[in-house]
Amino acid sequence: MEQLLSVLIGVLVAASVYLMMGRNLLRFLFGLILLSNAANLTIFVAGRLTPGAPALVPEGLDAPVGDVANALPQALVLTAIVIGFGLFAFALILAVRAYRSLGTLNTDDMRVAEPKDQV
């Protein structure tokens, strides 16, 4: 399972890098979303996978019995997903605003704030 997920992470990163190298801002953002998912999966896999053993405490005991899944990486991933969601919502709105006010999504043409060409 770990190997499979590692390969999946690699594929996600490759796809996201390909997307991010495009000139289109929207493609770039999609690439960023893929990359962020790859990072979340990395945390998940790095925290060791323990399938079929939820971190539950049986009734009447103080601690779970036997080896159970580590709940911390899952909590980290959850936090990262929520934060990422907020950031990407902002980034998408920014892309819409950029298209409306600059009239383009091609990042090569976004040069309003750059120094003027001096001839």
């Binding site: 962020s36 980290l76 934060i83």
Partner: protein, 497 residues
């Protein structure tokens, strides 16, 4: 006890909520000033406690470290919190005269306070994942502030700023995941212990490099600085001052924290890279500044070049070099924020920030000229201003270990800094205004609230410059704590010292 640690965080958040509720009334801006003043008092209290009792740690929710979230203040954290509060108050006062009512109604003051809370949190946290969360708090607030006006320039700069910062965030997150996989902990103190037990040192170095790149983007080091000059000249002057003073310095702080306490296993590799990065950062920054003609763009490139000095201090890793890095960090925040505030006054008086299109500031406003000269010469490293001592310590540290070439670069970059400062001076202050205007400070509305913070920060620069000894002694103690984190680890993990 832990109130000392939580108050500097709680105050800006509470202020943000009140300021947001009052965003449509003129009292909202005074809430921001009052909140910043209260945060300053809390920061001073924290500083006193840390000076008296050494490292202070608090376990949030009573979950003992390393399982819960720890807030820790050692001397470096405490001084960063204090300097954040000082800059925060200065800019909050300046904003009274700088921020348009339209932007206040959009929630400028609330976003500003959240930004300060994020910065303070990043300095106080003792947990790597928590640091990530504070980075995000800071980032989302800075996004909002950056594009508040919504004009073409801001959107353009904002896209680049957002894109590169999000990449850095994801790298940071990946690094956290891998480090957790290897050590099973994210608490700084616990990490400092556990990292030494990791067998696969090569993999640890890989993770260290992930962190170096992630924090390097935030700190705007070569070759990752491109978002900074693309964005920092677009927002309002208050916003760019607080960005210039504080945001990149959080990245530097994180680098110092990680690469002194935790990643010191393979210094021949990591710190050599840092050394090269530092040299290139200094040189590219100052050359970039020489090519610019916009007041704020020149200053933006100078941020980059000055970051190089701090990274240089970290890269050398001798006790004196770390002292220099800490001293530089503190001095730079005050000076840089002040210069951006002065750029704002210059724009109001002359109508532009393009130095070739303005002029005549010295003739009609000698006071402003003096206020500019203090931070400008301090930045360049003139004695007896604060920048001289900062540069002196760093250069002395390079000479002590006989790195002649690096010392030469550091001094040459100082010289180049003077060159671009004289460019601003000659064009904006010395020559006559091309349109024949005589910009008069006396006619400027709100000049009081604009000048008071500038003067206060300039006086602070003078004080550090004229009486450097207590500050150097302080920086020495802070550096000792960084290089020997035993006290830090004991306090956080609750073992008897």
């Amino acid at each position: 006890m832990s109130w000392y640690l939580t108050l500097p965080l709680v105050i800006p958040f509470v202020t943000a909520i009140i300021a947001f509720l009052l965003r449509n009334s003129p009292s909202g801006r005074w809430v921001s000033v009052a909140g910043s003043a209260a945060a300053l008092v809390a920061a001073i209290a924290l500083m006193r406690v840390v000076l008296d009792q050494g490292v202070l740690a608090g376990q949030m929710g009573q979950w003992a470290a390393p399982f819960g979230i720890t807030l820790v203040a050692d001397l470096l954290s405490a001084v960063m919190v204090l300097i954040t509060a000082i800059t925060g108050l200065a800019v909050a006062i300046y904003a009274l005269g700088d921020i348009e009512e339209r932007h206040e109604k959009l929630g400028y003051h609330a976003l500003y306070q959240i930004l300060l809370a994020g910065v303070t949190g990043a300095f106080l946290t003792g947990d790597l994942f928590n640091l990530y969360v504070w980075f995000e708090v800071m980032l989302i607030a800075s996004f909002g502030l950056l594009v508040l006006n919504g004009d073409k320039e801001q959107i353009d700069g904002g896209v680049k700023y957002v894109a590169l910062n999000l990449i850095s965030t994801i790298l940071f997150l990946t690094g956290i995941g891998l480090l957790y996989g290897m050590t099973g902990t994210l608490n700084f103190a616990d990490l400092a212990v556990k990292v030494d037990q990791v067998e696969n040192e090569a993999l640890l170095t890989v993770v260290a490099m992930l962190f170096m790149v992630a924090f390097g983007v935030k700190a705007a080091v070569f070759p990752l600085f491109f978002w900074l000059p693309a964005a920092y000249h677009t927002p309002s002057f208050s916003v760019s001052a607080v960005f210039a003073g504080l945001l990149t310095k959080v990245g530097v702080y994180a680098l110092i924290r990680m690469f002194t306490m935790i990643f010191d296993h393979d210094m021949a590799y990591t710190h050599t890279i840092l050394l090269w990065v530092a040299c290139f950062t200094m040189v590219t920054g100052v050359l970039g500044a020489a090519a610019q003609s916009d007041f704020r763009k020149i200053l933006s490139f100078h941020i980059i070049s000055q970051i190089g000095y701090m990274i240089l201090g970290l890269a050398l890793m001798t006790p004196l070099a770390i002292v220099g890095a800490v001293f530089y960090l503190v001095h730079h925040i005050i000076v840089k924020a002040n210069l951006f505030l002065i750029a704002g006054i210059a724009k109001r008086l002359t109508g532009s920030t393009e130095v070739f299109q303005i002029g005549g500031l010295y003739k009609s406003n000698p006071l402003l000229a003096v206020l500019f000269l203090i931070p400008a010469f301090s930045l360049a490293g003139f004695p007896p201003l604060s920048g001289f001592w900062a540069k002196y310590i760093i250069v002395k540290a390079t000479l002590d270990i006989e790195m002649w070439f690096v010392a030469f670069i550091a001094l040459a970059v100082g010289l180049m800094t003077i060159y671009s400062m004289t460019k601003i001076w000659a064009e904006a202050f010395w020559k006559d205004h091309p349109d024949g205007r005589e910009p008069a400070l006396a006619k400027l509305p709100n000049r009081g609230v604009l000048l008071i913070p500038v003067a206060a920060l300039a006086i602070l620069t003078m004080v550090i410059g004229l009486m450097p000894e207590p500050f150097v002694v302080f920086a020495e103690r802070a550096a000792d704590q960084l290089l020997d984190p035993t006290a830090y680890i004991n306090v956080v993990l609750g073992e008897a010292p």
